[in-house]
């Protein structure tokens, strides 16, 4: 079965030498939820830029649903990924939310009659029903973050690629996002400094540091590995400290 995202021996260095990604290999199967954690400067964002084809690697390969990024029309590849960057002002560039959320479907060839329905559905999923005519600069930062997610949900990609999706969200908003992600069938790659959020939304986790993938495993195992986290500048959230893997598993099951 073709993996949703397959990355092998990926390497990239910026022209000024900073924030490299070195020899990264991993696979995300269809429907899988993978987290990427690491200290600042570990290369998470660079990795995302490579996975979404916004940077070309120096070495290595990326395939999305079996296809590679080529020089020409990349739309066949890009329609499988839903990238939500860290900065929402860069994602919401249209005059109204409707235009922003309709942007993807219109470009990916969804028939015009169907686009409106897709927009309404996407906004409903993120709890912004009725916000079609709103202008981005009138939204709160939490609403903007949810709107940014809607802009990719509308074209129904196979894999969501989310860079710090729980930023700007209040605890209620974060819980709703968690609930939404757990309910969706879409695969996802999530980068976040919020380890509790990663625990609640990702089954598997990759630990990055200095451009390399240091470790990988189930989220529970990794988060219980205190020494591994300490060695790479990560901290277990207060509420999870001292718990065993079984206790964490129970916590997650209780959440549903």
């Amino acid at each position: 079965m073709t993996a949703a995202v397959s990355v092998s021996h990926l390497s990239y260095t910026y022209p000024d030498g900073r924030n490299a990604v070195t020899d990264v290999t991993f696979t995300v199967e269809k429907g899988e939820a993978v987290g990427v954690i690491g200290p600042n400067g570990a290369g998470k964002t660079t990795l995302f830029l490579l996975v979404t084809g916004l940077l070309s690697p120096e070495h290595g390969e990326i395939t999305v649903c079996g296809k590679s990024y080529t020089e020409r029309d990349d739309r066949e590849v890009r329609r499988h990924l839903g990238f939500v960057p860290h900065e929402t002002e860069d994602q919401l560039f249209s005059a109204t939310l409707f235009d922003d959320v309709a942007f993807g479907p219109l470009n990916f060839g969804v028939p015009r009659e169907a686009v409106r329905a897709r927009v309404e559905e996407a906004l409903r999923k993120v709890g912004l029903s009725g916000y079609e005519e709103r202008v981005p600069h009138h939204l709160s930062s939490g609403e903007r973050r949810r709107a940014a997610l809607a802009t990719v949900l509308s074209y129904e990609p196979d894999v969501l690629v989310l860079d710090e999706p729980s930023n700007d969200l209040d605890p209620r908003g974060r819980t709703e996002l968690v609930r939404f992600l757990r309910a969706t069938h879409q695969g996802r790659i999530v980068a976040s400094c919020d380890l509790e959020f990663i625990l609640r939304t990702c089954d598997r986790v990759l630990v990055m540091d200095s451009g390399r993938v240091i470790a990988g495993g189930t989220t529970i195992d990794i988060l219980c590995n205190r020494s591994l986290l300490d060695a790479h500048g990560l901290e277990v959230p207060l509420g999870l400290r001292g718990r065993t893997s079984d206790q964490l598993r129970e916590l997650l099951e209780a959440e549903g």
Binding site: D73, R75, E87, E89, F93, S94, D99, F103, V135
Partner: protein, 261 residues
């Protein structure tokens, strides 16, 4: 100052309900017609022939503003922008216009000059007053899409929409920068340090904007952008749209003929 033209777009009036394409076409043509003048007005203006039609134009513009139920006080503040320029015109013209002068007090004043200046001011206000009914009665993006339907070049419309979107982002960013600098005790003074701070601030914004466009372009590519903008906005013509167009433009044409003859 609030750069939001469409603060009043949610109100209701005949003008608000007017199809934006018809509205813009009509008011633009009206504006053009108001800018036309009888040849010779500048050299030999006549109080009887030129002043009444000019007042008529102003009256028509005011009527349209009232028809749009726009708060008149706000509309007047928009005229403030050119008031100083026109004020200078109103003062200078009577004093320096060539030709015969009458004496008021000790000052020789040209009544011809005053009339020419007055006509200019009336013309200017008539035209400017139309801007708000034209652009302030629909949401800005709707107005722009209407312009596009009227064959306004697509690249220009796209740039305008994009520019408008990021005006608010930069407005907020600039305010934050100014507040932050003031909070650190910085006061603008005519000295070298202020100059350096200003240059750095502007430079930071510029560099940041280049990086921002990189990121926006990336976000657009990821959502399948391949060069062409698309929009779903639909416009539908009703009889009322055509009727209002004819009535208002008709009035404008009549005024124009009145002026020319």
């Amino acid at each position: 100052m609030h750069p939001e033209i469409d603060r009043f777009a949610h109100l209701d009036s005949l003008v608000h309900r007017w199809d934006p394409r018809w509205k813009l076409a009509c008011l633009f043509l009206l504006m053009l017609s108001m800018g036309l003048e009888r040849p010779g007005t500048r050299d030999h203006p006549s109080w009887e022939a030129d002043l009444p039609p000019a007042l008529g134009c102003l009256g028509l513009s005011i009527a349209i503003v009232l028809l749009a139920r726009l708060p008149f006080a706000v509309v007047l503040t928009r005229l403030r922008g050119v008031a100083w320029f026109l004020g200078i015109v109103l003062v200078i013209f009577p004093l320096t216009y060539p030709g015969e002068k009458i004496v008021i007090g000790f000052v020789p004043v040209s009544s011809t000059g005053f009339l020419v200046a007055l006509l200019m001011v009336l013309r200017a206000f008539s035209i400017l007053l139309l801007a708000i009914p034209a652009f302030g009665t629909s949401r800005f993006d709707v107005t722009m899409k209407a312009l596009w339907r009227l064959r306004f070049p697509a690249p220009l419309v796209q740039i305008i929409l994009f520019t408008y979107r990021y005006v608010f982002v930069y407005w907020a960013q600039l305010r934050r920068m100014l507040i932050a600098s003031r909070a650190r005790g910085f006061h603008p003074r005519p000295d070298l340090r202020t100059l350096r701070v200003a240059g750095n601030g502007l430079g930071v914004l510029l560099v940041g904007s280049i990086e921002r466009t990189q990121r926006i372009h990336g976000a657009m590519k990821c959502r399948g952008f391949f060069g062409t903008f698309r929009t779903l906005e639909e416009f539908r013509t009703r009889f009322a749209d055509v009727a209002l167009f004819s009535v208002i433009l008709g009035a404008g044409v009549l005024l124009l003929l009145w002026r020319l003859l």
